[in-house]
Amino acid sequence: MKLLRDIWRSYRRRDSVATTKGKLQLVVHSLWLHIHPAKVHRSHFRLTYTWYLGFVSFYLFLILVATGVALMFYYRPTTAFAYQDMKDLEFAVFLGKFTRNMHRWGAHAMIIVVVLHMYRVYFTGSYKKPRQLNWVIGVALLLLTLLLSFTGYLLPWDQLAFWAITVGTAIGAYTPWLGPKGREILLGGHTVGDAALIRFYVLHCVALPTLTTLLIMLHFWRIRKDGGLSPPPSNLREFESPAPGTRPVAVAIPVAPHPGGTATSASARAVAVALEEVSEARAPRYAEDKDIAFSYPFAFYREGIAFLITFALMIVAAMYWNAPLEELANPAKTPNPSKAPWYFLGVQELVSYSALIGGVVAPALMVIALLVIPYLDTRDVRAPSKRKWGIWIFTLVTLANVVFIVIGTFFRGEGWKLVWPWASP
C-alpha cells in the first residue's frame, strides 16, 4: 500500500484541490495546465464574448492530428496505391470511413471556425496594442490552415482531388516572376502526378503540421505575454482614454493572497504584492474580487465542455455524412464543371473573370491588408460602436467572400455558366 501511495503522490505532488493551495498548485506545477495563470477573470470566459472559437480551432486541430495519423497507417502516397487505399479505408478498414469522414469534416470545420475566430478578434478590437504581433501570427495560422486543407485535398487521388489541385496550382502560377517556377517546385514537375503526390503528402503530414504546431505554441504563449485573453471591451470603457504613458494591460492578474485562502509561501506573497503594485498602475481595476476565479475548476471545466461539444459534433458529422470520393483521377477527362475546394471557390469565381487580378492580386491584397491592420489602426478604441467604419469594411469584405463562395459552389454549372442550384443538369 505504501508503494501505491508513493506512486500516487509522486504523480500528484499537490494539496487537495479543495484547498486554495491545491488549486494553485494544480495549475502552476503542471506543464500542461500552466498554460493558464492560476486565476482568471470570469468575463473572459463569457460564452457570448469569445464563443470559445480559439479553443475550438485548437481542438479541431488536435482531432485532425489524431485522425490524420490514424489514416497514415493505411495510406500510401503513390498514384498506383493512393486511390486503392482510400477504397480500402472506405470499405475494408474497421472505422476507416468514419475516421476519414471526421478528418474531412474536421478540416472544413477548422477553416470556418478559424475565420470566425479572426472575425471575433477583429470585432472586439483584440488585435490592438500590445497584441499586434499575435494577430499577425494568427493570420499566418489562417494561411497554414488553408494550405493544410489544400495539400490534403490531393491525397485521395480522385477526380475531385486531381482537378482541384490542377486548377489551384495553375492559379498560383499566374504570380508574376515566382509563379511558374514555384508551381514546378511545388508539383515536382509540370503536371500533377506522382512527384506532386509525394510532395503534397510530405507537406500535409510533416512540414505544415509541424510549422502549425510551433506557431500555435507561439500564439498561446503570446496571449499570456500580452496580458492574457483580452478582456471584453465593455470592461475597458473606463480605460479607453488612458492617461499618457499608461496602457491597458489586460490581465496581469496577480496571484494575490486570497481572503479565503490559507498558505502562500512568503516569497510567493512578496511576488504577489509586487505584481499587485505593478498592476495597480497598469491593469484595469476590476470592480470586485468576485470577478476573479481560480483557473481550476472555472476555466478548465469550461474548456473541457467546449472540447466535448466539439468532439461530439464531429462524431455526429462523421456518422451522418460521408466524405466524397469520386472516380480515380483521370488527367485526360476534366469533369464539367471542375471546381476548386469550396474555400477557394470565391477565388475561382474571381478567376473566372481574370486569373491575375482575381487569383493573385485580390487574395494577396487581402492578406497584406490583414497583416497591416493592427499597425495602421492604432487608435486606442476597442468598443465596436466606436469603430463603425472598420467593422463595416471588414464585414463587407468577409461577406463578399462568402457570397462569391456561395455563387461558385451552388450557382455554377456546366462550363461555369450561371445556373440555379435546383435546376437539374
Binding site: I185, G189, K333, P337, S338, V351, Y353, W416
Partner: protein, 154 residues
C-alpha cells in the same frame, strides 16, 4: 587602431561572411527541391498513322492532352488540349465547331482562337512531322503558327 576596434572589424567581416554563406546555402536548399529528373510523359511523341484520324473532327489523344486536327484531306496539325487559363482539358463540340473549357467557361474556335471567357491566349499548336515508320510525330517543345500543316503525300 586599438585591439578592440581591430577585433570588431574582423568580427564584422566574419558576420558578413556568415550571412553570405547563409544566403548561398538557402539558395542551394531551394535548388534541392527543384526536380532534376522527370517521369512525366515525353513531350515529343508518336501519334499514330495518318489514316487513324478522320477529316474535320479533331481527335483527342488523352495521354498527351493533344488534338490531332485533320482539316484537309492531307493536312495535319496538332493542337494543345490544355486551356491556357488554368490548365483544364478542353473538349471539342462538333455542333458549333468550338473548343469548350469546363472549368471557367473559356471558348475557342476551331483555330484555337479565344472567343469567350477568361483565357488569356489562344491554344498552342505544335509541330507535326512524319516519323520514319510512317507515324505522325508531335513535338510539344516546338510551338508553331496555327496555319502550319504537315502535308502528307499519298
Amino acid at each position: 587602431m586599438n585591439r578592440r576596434s581591430f577585433f570588431f572589424s574582423w568580427a564584422k567581416a566574419g558576420a558578413a561572411a556568415l550571412w553570405t554563406a547563409g544566403i548561398a546555402g538557402t539558395a542551394a536548399a531551394v535548388k534541392f527541391f527543384q526536380p532534376m529528373v522527370s517521369y512525366e510523359p515525353p513531350l515529343s511523341f508518336k501519334a499514330g498513322v495518318p489514316e487513324d484520324f478522320p477529316v474535320g473532327t479533331p481527335t483527342l489523344l488523352p495521354e498527351e492532352n493533344t488534338f490531332i486536327v485533320r482539316d484537309r484531306e492531307r493536312g495535319f496539325r496538332a493542337c494543345s488540349a490544355v486551356c491556357t487559363h488554368l490548365g483544364c482539358t478542353v473538349r471539342w463540340s462538333s455542333g458549333d465547331q468550338r473548343f469548350y473549357c469546363p472549368c471557367h467557361g473559356s471558348v475557342y474556335d476551331a483555330e484555337g482562337k479565344v472567343i469567350d471567357g477568361p483565357a488569356p491566349r489562344p491554344l498552342d499548336w505544335y509541330e507535326v512531322t512524319m516519323a520514319k515508320d510512317g507515324q505522325l510525330q508531335v513535338d510539344k517543345h516546338r510551338v508553331v503558327p496555327r496555319d502550319k500543316r504537315l502535308i502528307v503525300e499519298s
